[in-house]
């Protein structure tokens, strides 16, 4: 026990003496939680719309003014010639072109008019697709208003609408749990690995290996400080989410903490295993980056698991962050309880046991 305590004391002293680690540990979560939710958004804004107005009627002007008034759309230009608008689209000044056919208003009043045509630049598929949906909605609303005023023709016959996107969905609330996980991976994943490999590089691990200290004690003393730091990080992250973004968990805070403990155990055990197989910091960094890429892009942090191909969905079952991000989102947004999420907790617990055992086994005091 005393051996463990002196080792723990040593780890804390080393973290404190380090010229940048304490600053990183405090500033990093605050910065990420403050700034990233503002930036990491899939909400499509500032869609530039060009209107080719061949009708020049009240209706077409009304469409234009609605486009201009939309929160998501910007009216970039109004012209009477489609080629001009197309040129702007090609140059990237315009994202969506709306062409209102000649005599649209008159035809609408008496019969079925020619269709309004919409052209979108889909190089950025998300922006093109969603931007187009916004435009369609805006036009539908405009026509709906007009239709309501003097309705001989049903609006739905003028344009078919397939509204698959919910613009009121607050993307930040979806992203904040993902950011919390990224913080854990970076702080509780990278730092213990670098600390072990640092000892290999400086040679001090040899002085430890020649003592009777057990590898379990040494590994545990390496990990405990980062577990404590991890709990600090999750607390800071939750506070910022609450105070700055007004996001408080609907469910229990303890459900989040329990998940955090299990996830931190998992990710730190994982990183130590990698450290045990590396001789230099470069190796560790590279291998960690490889896995972190997979963790970030494949475990549903940024894109929903449900929309991945079948094989990829099956693959996500072996990715620990997948389970924790589900817990976070469910508890935060839906108020799901611990017992409903037991499979996720059990999976994380399993990963924690496996990786920490691996870390202790692969740490060789003797070659």
């Amino acid at each position: 026990m005393r051996t463990f305590l002196v080792l723990l004391q040593k780890e804390f002293l080393q973290i404190r003496r380090n010229s940048f680690l304490p600053k990183l540990i405090i500033a990093f979560p605050i910065m990420v939680m403050l700034i990233m939710p503002l930036i990491m958004t899939m909400d499509v804004r500032n869609v530039n719309v060009a209107i080719v107005d061949l009708d020049r009627s009240t209706t077409s002007r009304r469409i234009a003014s609605h486009v201009e008034a939309s929160e998501y759309l910007t009216l970039a230009q109004t012209t009477a010639e489609y080629p001009l608008a197309l040129e702007a689209l090609e140059q990237g000044d315009v994202d969506v072109i709306v062409q209102i056919p000649a005599d649209f208003e008159r035809d609408m009043a008496v019969s079925t008019p020619e269709h309004i045509s919409i052209t979108a630049n889909a190089v950025n598929a998300t922006k093109g697709g969603i931007g187009m949906q916004y435009v369609v909605q805006t036009i539908v609303r405009t026509l709906g208003e007009i239709g309501g005023e003097r309705a001989p023709v049903k609006v739905s016959e003028l344009i078919t609408v397939e509204n698959r996107y919910n613009p009121t969905l607050n993307y930040r609330h979806y992203m904040i749990p993902a950011l919390m996980i990224i913080l854990f991976i970076l702080i509780c994943g990278f730092l213990p690995a670098l600390s072990i490999v640092g000892e290999k590089e400086s040679g001090s691990i040899e002085q430890i290996n020649v003592t009777p200290i057990s590898r379990f004690t040494f590994t545990l003393a390496k990990l405990v400080p980062y577990w404590i730091i991890g709990l600090f990080v999750v607390t800071v992250a939750m506070l910022i989410a609450r105070l700055v973004y007004g996001l408080a968990p609907v469910g229990s805070v303890w459900a989040i903490y329990l998940g955090a403990v299990l996830f931190i155990l998992t990710i730190s055990g994982f990183s130590l295993t990698i450290a045990n197989f590396s001789d230099t910091m470069q190796q560790t960094m590279f291998v960690m980056f490889f896995f972190i890429m997979i963790f970030m892009l494949m475990s549903g942090l940024l894109t929903p698991v449900d929309s991945m191909p079948e094989w990829a969905q099956r693959f996500t079952l072996i990715l620990p962050p997948r389970y924790y991000v589900e817990i976070l989102r469910a508890v935060y947004l839906k108020g799901t309880t611990l017992s409903e999420l037991w499979i996720n907790y059990a999976a994380l617990g399993g990963f924690a046991v496996v990786f920490n055992t691996l870390a202790a086994i692969t740490y060789k005091k003797r070659s």
Binding site: T3, L13, Q14, S202, Q207, V210, P212, K365, S367
Partner: protein, 247 residues
């Protein structure tokens, strides 16, 4: 000389793939001896020493250190030895005192014993003023003396020193050897490698390794006689000249 054998090695061998780093070496070291373990760079000294310390598994052969088998009881050996690596390996970002406290704690000394021994060592080294200095900022000679002090803080039966005085100035070297003598006189067995032949003269017995094998082993006086040499330097050169390996 005490005849109790503390280190006993028979046909100890270490191979890395096709390369035989240590080739069937055999020797005994007695309690309280200062055993000089000489050899050119690449002769296999460090590899042999690492096997004896339980840092490396022997490929073949047998050996015991402080009564424990080097093959099977590496962790038990570690309780009874001190080791000072060729490369300075204390924690540079901890102070002198913190390093002492850490290693004392690792070897299971309690708070009071730690306090007593660390204070005594600081006094012995005239380091009292440097108690709270970060180890990284000490000059090399001081670091080496501190490494030795920490390697002996738990009063081990055997201390392994791998080129402890490499790069150290002559005055500090002298002081270092005084520390070694003092430890040996208290019954600690010293197993030391060096490239300084004047240091070899201080040893009770000396073995010289060439190409992974022990080519000579005796007291410095008898070795000089055997090779009809004036000094250990000459003995060493005679033997090392035939080496196939080297830098």
């Amino acid at each position: 000389m005490n005849s109790e054998i503390v280190i006993s090695v028979r046909e100890l061998t270490k191979r890395f793939g096709d390369f035989t780093a240590v080739d069937r070496i055999s020797f005994d070291v007695h309690r309280g001896e200062i055993f000089g373990f000489l050899g050119a760079n690449g002769a296999g000294k460090t590899t042999a020493m690492r096997m004896l310390c339980g840092l490396s598994y022997p490929t073949a052969g047998s050996g015991s250190v402080a009564g424990f088998d080097v093959m099977r009881e590496g962790e038990k050996i570690k309780r009874h030895i001190g080791y000072m690596s060729q490369r300075f390996s204390l924690y540079n970002d901890l102070t002198v005192w913190e390093n002492m406290r850490l290693f004392a704690g690792i070897y299971g000394l309690n708070r009071r014993e730690t306090e007593e021994r660390a204070s005594a060592l600081l006094k012995r080294l005239n380091f009292e003023a440097e108690r709270d200095t970060l180890v990284g900022s000490l000059p090399l000679g001081w670091k080496q003396k501190l490494s030795f002090a920490i390697a002996t803080i738990h009063r081990p039966e055997v201390v392994f020193l791998d080129e402890p005085t490499g790069g150290v100035d002559p005055v500090t070297r002298r002081q270092f050897w005084e520390l070694i003598y003092e430890a040996a006189s208290e019954g600690t067995t010293i197993f030391v490698t060096t490239h300084y032949m004047d240091e070899a003269e201080y040893c009770s017995r000396v073995s010289i390794m060439v190409d992974g094998e022990v080519r000579a082993l005796d007291t410095p006086a008898r070795l000089k006689q055997q090779f009809a040499a004036e000094s250990m330097d000459e003995v060493f050169r005679t033997l090392a000249r035939g080496a196939q390996r080297g830098e």
